[in-house]
Symmetry: C2
Subunit: 168 residues, 2 copies
DNA sequence: TGATAGTTTCAGAATATATTGAAATGCTGG
DNA sequence: CCAGCATTTCAATATATTCTGAAACTATCA
């Protein structure tokens, strides 16, 4: 591999890894995702251990997480008993899968809780302010959640261009 | 304060605090934000230390972060030398400020880096796959960044209803 | 200007999170 | 069914992050 290409890959993997924690994803998982995104071939657990210099346990756990998130698939290489992994190739699909998972795991549960908090606070004078605030927040998060869900269902070309046009 | 209101507030604060780390924000900062959102009056550093059971240093640092993010303002109570803090009241404004900060702090830098990675990988055959992948990712992130920026500039009623209609 | 109340800083401590590596388990072909 | 390789698990460890609290600093008042 040309030296500059290797440098570019490493820089990309490192940068993607830094971004992870800022969005609540652990560094290694993000690096692993970046590595698989730019890898031409599926990689085995041993490959990623070697490339990122991490342990088998760590590699295994984070590969599984990526599979659970639906952005990486298990792949089979004929004549080899090892499991291989390859990233979803289409970036729009990748985005949709991440959006749907975050919606399900992180947005919907908090919506539930907010609704419970509202129910818990009786409709008396003392609760007015609390109910207003949480109510408005709930409305906004619900709307954003709905919009995200809709967008993540569509073909890229079906929705982004129209939103772009709307915003001009 | 009625017991059920207090319970509802605590539940809300706790739940908002849990959500923080999932999105790359520390628990205390998220709790502090929740506390200020549902508080009728501005609160002093001592108030939040008391309410959340945290140290002065911790309270000070996280209050400052919230001010830096633009979702909390310093407030002055006449006849009192203490500084008080109050949350931005309007949830849409809050959303816009967070969106703009994340864009500036977390999206734009990674866009820069990705562009550098592309520049670093020469235009030869060996780099084709890498350039395609990073290129497509860059395009999508750029578009989402642009959309987020536009939305976060608008009045709530100017944009959300139109997007909702588009998605029906 | 000195006394007092308020705010910030930051080294060390506490806590939470991520990682390792070896043992246990699971699989597959012969 | 067993030998050999692959995968998973998890207790111990390492690392990263957050938090504390007291000292340093700042602002205000008399």
């Amino acid at each position: 591999m040309p030296e500059n290409l290797e440098g570019a890959k490493n820089r990309f993997i490192h940068s993607w890894g830094e971004m992870g924690p800022q969005w609540g994803i652990n560094r290694t998982m993000a690096q692993l995702h970046a590595l698989l995104m730019v890898s031409e071939k599926p990689l085995s657990t041993d490959d990623v251990m070697e490339d990122l210099g991490i342990s088998r346990g760590n590699a295994n756990m984070n590969l599984r997480s990526l599979v659970d998130w639906g952005v990486v698939r298990r792949a089979f290489v004929k004549g080899d008993r090892k499991e291989y992994f390859q990233s979803e190739k289409d970036v729009w699909n990748m985005f949709c899968r991440i959006a749907r998972e975050r919606k399900k795991r992180e947005i919907e549960p908090v919506l539930e809780t907010m609704q419970e908090c509202l129910a818990l606070a009786e409709r008396d004078k003392a609760s007015t302010h609390f109910r207003e605030r949480v109510g408005e927040l709930l409305d906004l998060v619900k709307t954003l959640d709905y919009v995200l869900g809709k967008i993540a269902q569509q073909e890229k070309n079906a929705v982004l261009p129209r939103i772009l046009k709307l915003l001009t």
